[in-house]
């Protein structure tokens, strides 16, 4: 569902297609920063991962992402923001998340993009489960992500 620039979807997406659309919508912006998170083929413990399933809480994700984008636009002079987040079953290399920010100021574009990623990692109601040779396990939250998100308070 699309809520003010954010979309959570079960269908695969192509970050280059998202970027093409985003820059076409923002030709007057001096700078565009993007981040793409891709599924890795190894877990934090070093185990080989064959597949990942992402589950989300749709109603809350819509609220959170809309609030997150509003907060980024309040903090930085942004022309536009786009978030696309996959849910469902992914294979290694698949894009998980795409974040793009457009601004006249490159520092604003960079910092807002980093802020959005930090908060997606720590606030968006989305959960990952990894499947490998020895079974499936829910990914544990990283305290380092909390530390990073804490920088923006």
């Amino acid at each position: 569902m699309m809520v003010s620039g954010a979309r959570v979807q079960a269908e695969p997406f192509d970050p280059s297609v998202e970027l093409k659309a985003f820059s076409a919508r923002n030709v007057k912006s001096g700078g565009i920063a993007t981040f793409i998170g891709q599924m890795r083929d190894t877990s934090a413990d070093g185990e080989t991962i064959n597949a990942m399933t992402l589950e989300h809480y749709p109603a809350m994700a819509d609220v959170q992402l809309a609030e997150l984008i509003a907060e980024a636009k309040q903090r930085w002079p942004l022309d536009d923001v786009r978030i696309v987040h996959r849910v469902g079953t992914l294979k290694p290399g698949d894009p998980i998340v795409f974040v793009a920010t457009a601004s006249a100021h490159r520092e604003a574009a960079f910092h807002a993009c980093e802020f959005l990623m930090d908060w997606l990692k720590t606030k968006a109601p989305i959960w990952k489960k990894e499947s490998g040779a020895t079974g499936a396990a829910w990914v544990e939250a990283k305290t380092d992500d909390d530390r990073r998100a804490g920088r923006w308070r």
Binding site: A59, M60, A124, W127, K128, A141
Partner: protein, 83 residues
């Protein structure tokens, strides 16, 4: 009241949602958890380590001391791992 479970809490409870009517006097998240945890072995397992249990009341993060008076939807889930 609609109760939602996500990720391994959903798996332990064995369902993603249930419509329940907590007894009168259930005023806080903690009291709701006390009541839910006693409903089945699965519920008990899901709420065994309450430090890991995050809560959203009507789609907004709240802590365990928060009131549930008037809530339409309470969701329970582990720390998020998206992004």
């Amino acid at each position: 009241m609609k109760i939602l479970y996500f990720a391994w809490m959903r798996e332990k409870v064995g369902r993603s949602e249930e419509i329940l009517d907590p007894p009168a006097g259930t005023q806080t998240v903690t009291q709701l958890i006390d009541w839910l945890a006693a409903r089945s072995a699965g519920h008990g397992a899901a709420f065994a380590n309450r430090k890991l249990v995050k809560v959203a009341r009507d789609q907004v993060h709240v802590d365990h001391a928060a009131s549930i008076a008037g809530a339409r939807e309470v969701a329970f889930f582990p720390p998020v791992t998206g992004g």
